[in-house]
């Protein structure tokens, strides 16, 4: 899982050139794929070009970085649910761990 860190302490998911907090150059790092659900929604009214419903989760990654991504299984929609981020067709998905 790609992320970017800054000497100011900010860490964000994915690659980013300048720190959104202080404007300095960020350093690209690799995080593990572990993730925990912070919050979620099932979206029924979707923008043009998307199919409803969309299961959206905001997860916390290692070191406190956060990522908004889709989730395929409605049963994974639970605050505190632990799982992994997988990549399919260049899109990120959250998959909950088996109980």
């Amino acid at each position: 899982m790609q992320a970017s860190t800054c000497t100011c302490g900010k860490i964000v998911a994915l690659n980013r050139e300048l720190c959104p907090n202080c404007g300095k150059s960020m350093t690209s790092i690799e995080l593990g794929n572990d993730a925990v659900v912070l919050t979620y929604t099932t979206l029924y009214t979707v923008p043009e070009g998307f199919n409803a419903p969309i299961f959206l989760v905001l997860v916390e990654l290692e070191q406190g970085a956060k990522l908004l991504c889709e989730c395929k299984n409605k049963n994974d929609l639970e605050i505190g649910k632990k799982g992994k981020i997988v990549v399919e067709n260049e899109k990120y998905y959250f998959v909950g761990n088996m109980e």
Binding site: K10, V12, A13, L14, P20, N21, L38, T39, Y40, T41, T42, L43, Y44, T45, V46, P47, E48, G49, F50, I54, L56, L58, K66, L67, L68, C69, E70, I79, K91
Partner: protein, 373 residues
């Protein structure tokens, strides 16, 4: 810095309107400027996206041309759904600097001409490009915040509905409101699911409308005493808190400092309730209640018309309607009417009022304090 006062305000009824955006702006202007000398040093036009919503650009020129204000300087200000308050802020600076003496602020949007799916797509462009690539919409981000707030503070679905019920009640007392009909908790809970747990009645509507405010360096009975403005990260995933918004807290702090006021001094407030959760979170971030206590304040009626700090006596975005570019200026109009005792059946006792307008998903916020004088 010169002192800045408000002389006149006006607005159209909000809702689905047949007229063009310029016709709506003329209606608001005529409401504010009737029998006045129509000479202005400049015109500031707040409008988020006329290019896509109505197919016109160069909108500042279009408006002065339409109003017959030949040769008057004019500029359009787009600051997402905080365009109305941003235009007001820039107009304030122009008078405070002494550069201009009397200026007209117009703000409006016409959103209903397009199908809702296209309007939703236009509004989704307010969201960070990666985040919107997931399909995220404004209601989706609000739903993520709502779910986390319910988890952290024990807010129930029924309690959340009370925010919409309260603002729809206030809307019945406001002749400019899009919705002037009471609703029940049951109505909210039975409305169409948009982004779980948010339903249709948790979300502000697609709407059309316009507002006008005249600012002057000559003394009137309403003074602009403080404006605070702050931004936050564009992405929700960059933010530390999901249940409290820094752009509101910092903008409010700046406005309070400039006005030499504290939250307890405010008699009435118009806050940006684009979603019901914001009717609870905004008063907390503005310092009226501690974090997590906005729910109890709503349930106990502290934010109702007879409460200790009436919030959204106009009906807010929820009932008045939310033509995005117009909203910030509609809040100013409402507070001026409240301070002047001209708010009719929704009048509350007030000498000091506050407006809180959000741009983007709570990341470009403006807080304005107005006082009787």
């Amino acid at each position: 810095m010169a002192k800045v006062y408000i002389s006149d305000v006006g607005m159209t009824k909000f809702g689905r309107r047949e007229e063009s955006l310029q016709t709506l702006m003329y209606e608001a202007y005529a409401h504010a400027a009737t029998a006045r000398d129509p000479e202005f040093d400049a015109v500031f036009v707040g409008c988020m996206n006329p290019d896509e919503f109505v197919g016109d650009s160069n909108f500042a020129t279009l408006i002065v041309d339409h109003l017959g204000l030949y040769q008057t300087p004019s500029v359009r200000i787009d600051n997402a759904p905080a365009s109305g308050s941003a235009a007001f802020e820039q107009a304030f600076f122009s008078v405070a600097s002494g550069h201009y003496e009397k200026v007209l602020v117009l703000a409006g949007e016409k959103m209903s001409a397009l199908p809702t799916t296209i309007a939703t797509r236009i509004l989704s462009k307010l969201i960070d490009k990666y985040e919107r690539s997931t399909g995220a919409t404004m209601p989706a981000l609000a739903a993520l915040v709502t779910r986390r707030y319910m988890h952290d503070y024990g807010l129930s679905r029924e309690e959340l509905a009370l925010a919409a019920v309260k603002n729809h009640y206030n809307g019945t007392l406001n002749p400019y409101a899009q919705f002037q009909k009471e609703i029940s908790v049951d109505d909210v809970l039975k409305s169409k699911m948009i982004a779980d747990p948010l339903r249709l009645y948790d979300c502000a509507s697609i709407s059309d409308g316009a507002c006008a405010v005249i600012l002057t360096g000559s003394k009137t009975d309403v003074k602009v005493t403080g404006i605070g403005h702050a931004t936050d990260f564009l992405s929700l995933q960059y933010r530390d808190s999901l249940t409290s918004f820094n752009a509101t807290k910092v903008a409010a702090k700046r406005a309070y400092e400039r006005a030499h006021r504290q939250p307890k001094d405010i008699d009435v407030a118009e806050v940006h309730d684009a979603f019901t959760i914001l009717e609870i979170v905004n008063p907390e971030d503005l310092g009226f209640f501690k974090l997590g206590e906005g729910v109890a304040a709503l349930i106990e009626g502290k934010t109702g018309l007879n409460g200790e700090i009436p919030i959204n006596p106009s009906g807010g975005l929820k009932a008045r309607g939310h033509p995005v570019g117009a909203t910030g200026l509609a809040q100013i109009c409402e507070i001026v009417w409240q301070l002047r005792g001209e708010a009719g059946k929704r009048q509350v006792p007030a000498n000091i009022g506050l407006c809180h307008n959000i741009g983007g998903f709570v990341n470009n916020n403006i807080v304005t304090i107005l006082e009787s004088c």
